[in-house]
């Protein structure tokens, strides 16, 4: 299922060949997000949220919902904005620049899109309005201890029993898990652990008996957790999409998740470059600003070039996010993840290096961007994984 707005953006870009301009609406979305986050989500405010018991500001989350950011790619009928990936990245990038810890990627992209793409009318009615308004958090639980980022590696099992399902297994590294009202869980209804067929997705309420969350604070300030599912009894209507055919949706979700995560990373990279240019222009050693040294200038230029290439890859991937050919879509997403991942690491490391000692301190925001980008590099699989995926898909094409 294609969001019409995204397809039209892709089509427009193709038709005009060289038109990469944002529409007025898209620009407004981006400007509004930037403006609000700069004013209301400064570094100190953000650190108070991270240090709080829950580690999330429900107040901010509701505001994000009011502004329409959480439903930006959800259908208008369910309180959304009816946009697509191009709209999503207009919101995700400023969130990365502001180090937002609330589960935009985990819930507004992965969780909400799972339901928007595969949910029954009843599932959509139950979840989408609450997800769009910021009342609910729904996250994707697909990885397991031994899976790495092989999406077909699903060991958790769901058995059809008494007219419903009984779910058992463990999920690890579930983004936003401690905040979730519900989980979209990948479990096997048939087949062996690696088989592409036989994976199904289930809607699991966080309070369902047998569901246990071991949550933790992540190095980037967000929260995640491991999910223990111990004979969780679900109704027949908990199945999301077609039984045994969940992998295709999972791949689609991860691909759009990658694009959103790349936009977030680009926001963080841009902030680092801005701050590093400013710092090296004011920090004096040998009686001159260190930015007057050519080695520093060239490093800054390398960071700048890395960011420009990343923006290009992001745009490419966003325009392929709804491509009807799944292989083309996945290749675009993997290209972005591999290409931007490497560059994110470089920009993060160089920002710390050029700040010297102060870049190593918890007090300054540089290290927080560094950690966010470090986590991004591993999210949904590292660069090596996506290089291999890209190459394999090319060979198969």
């Amino acid at each position: 299922m294609c969001s019409p707005r995204c397809c039209s953006a892709a089509a427009r870009a193709k038709a005009n060949a060289m038109n990469f301009d944002l529409s007025e609406e898209q620009k407004m979305l981006r400007d509004a997000a930037q403006k609000f986050l700069r004013a209301e989500y400064g570094f100190d405010a953000r650190n108070r949220i991270v240090a709080s018991e829950t580690g999330m500001s429900r107040e901010h989350w509701r505001r994000f919902g009011e502004f329409g950011w959480l439903g930006v790619a959800l259908p208008e009928a369910h309180g959304g904005f009816g946009g697509g990936m191009v709209e999503t990245i207009q919101v995700a990038e400023p969130m990365g620049a502001a180090l937002v810890v609330e589960p935009y990627l985990a819930s507004a992209v992965l969780g909400a899109q799972a339901v928007a793409r595969a949910g029954s009318p009843a599932q959509q009615a139950a979840w989408l309005p609450g997800l769009a308004s910021g009342k609910l958090v729904l996250v994707l639980a697909h990885t397991e201890d031994d899976s790495g980022h092989q999406l077909a590696h699903v060991a958790a099992r769901a058995a059809a029993e008494r007219g419903g399902w009984v779910l058992s297994g463990r999920k690890s590294g579930v983004l936003g898990a401690p905040w979730a009202d519900g989980f979209v869980v990948a479990a096997r209804t048939a087949g062996a652990v690696h088989e592409r067929r036989g994976i199904s997705l289930f809607m699991v309420g966080a309070k369902t008996p047998g569901v246990q969350v071991a949550g933790y604070r992540v190095y980037d300030g967000s929260r995640a957790g491991d999910l223990l599912l111990d004979a969780v009894v679900l109704g027949r209507d908990a199945l999301l999409g077609v039984e045994g055919e969940g992998l295709g949706l999972l791949e689609q979700l991860i691909d759009i998740g990658i694009v959103a995560a790349c936009a977030d990373a680009l926001g963080a990279m841009g902030a680092l470059l801005r701050k590093t240019v400013e710092y090296t222009g004011t920090r004096k050693q040998f009686d001159v600003p260190i930015a007057s040294f050519q080695v520093i200038q060239h490093r800054l230029v390398d960071m700048f070039a890395a960011i420009e290439a990343s923006r290009s890859l992001l745009l490419m991937a966003a325009l392929h996010a709804e491509h009807p050919d799944a292989a083309a879509r996945s290749r675009a997403a993997s290209a972005a993840k591999a290409g931007i991942g490497e560059r994110a690491r470089f920009v993060a490391q160089q920002a710390v290096q050029l700040h010297g000692g102060v870049g190593m301190t918890e007090e300054l925001d540089i290290g927080h961007y560094f950690r966010r980008l470090t986590l991004f590099c591993h999210l949904f699989g590292g660069s090596d994984h996506h290089l291999q995926r890209f190459a394999a898909l090319r060979a198969a094409a």
């Binding site: 980022h149 092989q150 933790y216 604070r217």
Partner: protein, 393 residues
């Protein structure tokens, strides 16, 4: 060209290996493998144990309590110690101040401080960097002004590792404001319990507290605490920077970490298969190992040249840039292998004892390696001067 160990060296290797096997506390071993920070009392106890064996100040001459080993023996010792996941356990006092006092100290200073360093009675921190003096260290401003038979010291030192644990600080201070800025610097020993010293913690991006800022306000220091002559501080600092080359390269630590990475990659799974079977992971491990070989043999060559009487020069800068690059690569590989196991922020308790619980801490702090002890950029300036002679600016 001969790098084989002779029969006596091999016997020595067996002895050292057996001792570390038998004597390394499991808790220290676990922390060394996982990258968890050691606490002061753990380090002190460990150092005293090594000293009781006569193996703490391995780089010191015999007259000051060193074991009198050949460079080969020292190399074997370091390898075996690291391979046993025993912490390096060396302090600033052993590595840095000891050699300085031997070269520049008065007989009284040596007689008083060296045994105390060896027995870990004093904990020394290094007071070099300042808020305004980082890569341009010679612009440091902390001033020591003569007041009767004392100096009055005022200023601030930055990034002072373990200042909060230290009983003493060796410090670069300005004793003259005129002339070339390097020439007005002196090397001064300051007891940390003197009035006017305040230590403020700096939490680093690994979430740990090892760094500090030290404020000195009218701190009275007797002139007998001056090392060398007034104005000789810069030469002493340079001597010190080029002195301990083997520890700069960190070959033994890197070899041990690489072995741990192989073990971790065999244990962790991706797609249900051991990660070590993943082609990209194998290439990464292979590449890191080859870089480490290049480092190790460069280190050998420098050691051999120095043993043959060649004065230490810019090679230490080369070893530092090569060594820190390898260290950073390895710590990065560790979080690659750990993946989401490295996500949880400073978890303690049972999780905190896990193999990957401190991988992210180690990676984050490894970024400091190209900043402290002369940044990568400063080391490259030194090397450029060597290459270009007077032509390099």
């Amino acid at each position: 060209m001969d790098i084989d160990f002779d029969a006596e060296d091999l016997a020595f290797q067996r002895e050292v290996r057996a001792w570390f096997e038998a004597n390394t506390p499991p808790e220290l071993r676990r922390k060394t493998i996982t990258g968890e920070m050691l606490q002061k009392d753990e380090i002190v106890r460990w150092q005293r144990r090594l000293d009781a064996q006569g193996w703490l100040v391995t780089g010191w001459p015999q007259e000051h309590g060193g074991p009198g080993w050949t460079p080969t023996r020292r190399y074997i010792f370091d390898l075996e110690r690291a391979a046993a996941s025993a912490p390096i356990g060396l302090s600033m006092g052993v590595i840095m101040l000891g050699p300085v006092l031997m070269a520049f100290g008065t007989p009284e200073q040596r007689a008083h401080y060296l045994p105390r360093i060896r027995r870990c009675e004093d904990w020394w921190c290094q007071g070099y960097s300042e808020p305004g003096a980082g890569s341009d260290l010679a612009s440091l401003k902390t001033a020591a002004v003569t007041d009767g038979g004392d100096y009055l010291v005022n200023g601030s030192k930055m990034w002072t590792t373990y200042a909060h644990w230290a009983t003493h600080m060796f410090c670069l201070v300005r004793t003259a404001a005129t002339g070339k800025k390097q020439e007005g610097i002196s090397f001064l020993l300051i007891e940390m319990d003197r009035a006017g010293i305040e230590v403020r913690p700096i939490v680093s991006i690994d979430g740990e507290h090892s760094l500090n800022q030290v404020f000195l306000t009218d701190v009275r220091v007797p002139k007998k605490n001056l090392v060398g002559r007034e104005g000789q501080g810069w030469d002493i600092a340079k001597y010190l920077l080029t002195h301990e080359r083997t520890s700069i390269a960190g070959v033994a630590e890197c070899k041990a970490l690489l072995a741990n990475l192989h073990a971790a990659a065999a244990e962790r799974r991706s797609g249900g298969r051991p990660l070590v079977e993943d082609a990209a992971m194998r290439l990464k491990l292979a590449r890191a190992e080859i870089e480490l070989m290049a480092l190790e043999y460069t280190n050998f060559r420098v050691l051999a040249a120095t043993a043959a009487g060649k004065a230490p020069g810019p090679e230490s800068s080369l070893l530092k840039t090569m060594g820190t690059a390898v260290q950073q690569t390895l710590s990065e590989l560790d979080i690659d292998i750990a993946a989401e196991k490295a996500w949880p922020w400073r978890e303690r308790g049972e999780f905190g004892r896990g193999r990957y619980a401190h991988a992210m801490e180690r990676y984050c702090y490894s970024r400091a390696a190209t900043i402290y002890g002369g940044s990568d950029e400063v080391q490259k300036n030194v090397l450029a001067k060597m290459l270009l002679g007077g032509g390099a600016r």
